[in-house]
């Protein structure tokens, strides 16, 4: 209880810090939304040039894009700035975080909350909304549930990948943008039906790293389509399990990373 209040206070502190420079915050908010709009436009442009994408109609493929967009924006808004860990490790600023009576990860997440990406939430939601409207979905209780769990599980999976790739900084300080291949790369991978990818690459990303369960499998189940790649219909409901497994791995790696922290001379 006390801890929750502490985290709430940190959130409040972050809000006030962000708005300390009011004008620049407003500008960032707008430019960021514009940037996201361009991202989405890219997807539409891509779909405009092709009639069928990997065996799916444009509207079906758009549903996958929508789930991914919403899931990713949820993750990006919360833990998207965790890659700042690299700076904390390199400069030794993590010392100050470690001497506080709170867990390290939530402190970092709250200290660097990317509030200026807030408008992306609206963009992500609207892509999903458009996709749902353009597909004729036979709504059952299971599918309604799936519509809620799929983006959330996807967000958790993306979040775990964000944390995992940031945690490499504990061992390898100049890990740089290496992790982006898995975070932003993962988003781009799941924005399209995975049938468009070559087979070993697809196996690695879709099943090895679990990205196939972010939007592809849930979208198939929502649409009531059989998987051309052969997984049964209930595979669409597996995303929470995949997300949990990713969280487990991320937690283990993060913990061992914190123990590995070397600090810097002062």
């Amino acid at each position: 209880m006390g801890e929750l209040r502490a985290y709430a206070a940190l959130f409040g502190g972050r809000l006030r810090s962000a708005t300390a420079y009011r004008a620049s915050f407003a500008v960032e908010l707008v430019t960021n939304a514009a940037g996201t709009a361009i991202d989405v436009a890219t997807v539409f442009v891509f779909y405009r040039t092709a009639a069928v994408v990997g065996g799916f109609t444009l509207d079906e493929a758009l549903l996958m894009t929508g789930i991914t967009a919403f899931a990713f924006v949820l993750a990006d808004l919360t833990v998207g700035n965790i890659d700042q860990l690299e700076t904390y490790v390199r400069t030794g600023r993590l010392d100050a975080v470690l001497v506080r009576p709170l867990a390290v990860l939530p402190q970092l997440v709250l200290a660097d909350l990317p509030l200026r990406k807030l408008m992306r939430l609206a963009v992500g939601l609207s892509v999903l909304g458009v996709a749902l409207a353009r597909n004729d979905i036979d709504w059952t209780a299971g599918r309604v549930l799936l519509l809620v769990t799929a983006p959330i599980s996807g967000a958790v999976l993306f979040g775990a990948i964000f944390v995992l790739s940031a945690a490499t900084a504990f061992w390898w300080v100049d890990s740089g943008k290496l992790g982006h291949g898995f975070t932003y790369g993962g988003r781009d991978f799941t924005s399209y039906p995975i049938t468009v990818y070559g087979s070993w690459f697809r196996t690695l990303f879709a099943y090895g790293l679990g990205f196939g369960f972010v939007s592809y499998q849930p979208a198939l189940t929502l649409l009531g389509r059989a998987d051309p790649l052969g997984l049964p219909a209930w595979a669409g409901y597996l995303s929470p399990l995949v997300a949990l497994a990713a969280v487990g791995v991320a937690a283990v790696v993060w913990r061992s990373g914190v123990r590995h922290y070397r600090s810097t001379g002062s």
């Binding site: 502490a6 409040g12 810090s17 010392d95 709170l102 922290y261 600090s263 001379g265 002062s266």
Partner: protein
């Protein structure tokens, strides 16, 4: 309050060895330190750069995981029980701020009250006391980024004390401060120590901090404790050299040698000479001098701690040099 037994921390670093090859090398930053610090003690922890002071402090506060050995603070093991320990200790790392850069100082204190879950009345009382002793009132409403270093350090000290810690760790609390701010910080810490409720461990390069504040001095070099005791004991043990300064009517005859002492300075064309006394008493030195020249004035200068410590460091270096050769 604080127990360390055989505490060690080694780092592996990769060093260049040839154009592409890199060699792994293990460096012991802290090498088998055993210390016991009781409640209410004020301990100064000094050593040259890279001696392992900060590394020790970071193992005591749960920031770094020891490579081997045991450590306990307030009866807790710092790394596994980090958050429980954090509630009971205060930490000031001179170079790592605990304050919110963009917010007024007052807001940082309010946030820390929530972080440490301090009852409002206690928080108020402590804050009022710190404001009084450290004279914070003038800049409580200024964003931290606009504070001077001295003001910020006073803020950091307050931030570390608002939850009423049992142990206060200070890593170079006076580094970079001007004389006035140094004085303010020192007298505040002295005041804090006199109450006897807080155990204080501080690392510093400024020996005046130690002379003013600490009864106990731990000197560390190359990760090992080379001295643990009072300042007086340090002088006694390292035979701190006193100096004899003599004003003469005429310079000493050429080739004059004072057995057991070294001439370490001449001024005013030889009218003032300084001898560092090694194995000769001041009395014998004076007796030898008056037979050689007309002495007008004499003074014996007590060693100051800076010299002692500087010698301690260089001794350690040369000892290492010898062992490397042998």
């Amino acid at each position: 309050m604080i127990e360390m037994r055989d505490l060690s921390k080694t780092f592996t670093v990769r060093v260049k060895a040839g154009r592409l090859r890199r060699e792994k090398r293990t460096i012991a930053a802290v090498d088998g330190v055993s210390l016991s610090i009781g409640r209410g003690e004020m301990v100064g922890y000094i050593g040259p750069n890279g001696a392992g002071k900060s590394t020790t402090l970071k193992m005591l506060t749960g920031v770094l995981t020891p490579t081997s050995g045991e450590v306990s603070v307030c009866g807790l093991r710092p790394v596994p029980q980090r958050t429980a320990l954090a509630l009971r200790i205060g930490v000031v790392f001179g170079q790592r701020s605990q304050l919110w850069w963009d917010l007024p100082l007052r807001d940082s204190f309010r946030l820390l009250r929530a972080v440490y879950r301090v009852p409002a009345a206690e928080h108020e009382a402590r804050l009022r006391r710190c404001c009084e002793l450290l004279d914070l009132d003038g800049f409580l409403d200024i964003p931290v980024r606009q504070l001077s270093l001295g003001q910020r350090m006073r803020g950091e000290l307050t931030a570390a004390l608002l939850h009423g810690p049992e142990v206060l760790f200070l890593d170079e609390p006076t580094i970079g401060l001007d004389v006035v701010s140094k004085q303010a910080v020192r007298s505040f810490l002295g005041e804090l120590g006199r109450t006897g409720d807080v155990t204080l461990v501080l690392t510093t390069h400024d020996l005046a901090d130690i002379e003013r504040l600490c009864h106990r001095l731990v000197v560390i070099d190359h990760g090992r404790v080379v001295h643990d005791g009072t300042i007086e004991q340090l002088h006694a043990r390292y035979g701190s050299r006193r100096r004899l300064v003599a004003d003469l009517d005429s310079p000493l005859p050429p080739g004059f040698v004072l057995p057991g002492a070294t001439m370490t300075g001449t001024e005013a064309d030889g009218h003032r000479v300084t001898f560092t006394l090694e194995s000769i008493t001041a009395g014998a030195a004076v007796a030898a001098l008056v037979t050689a020249a007309q002495v007008r004035d004499l003074s014996v200068v007590e060693p100051d701690i800076e010299d002692v410590v500087a010698r301690l460091y260089t001794d350690g270096r040369s000892a290492e040099g010898r062992s490397a050769e042998g």
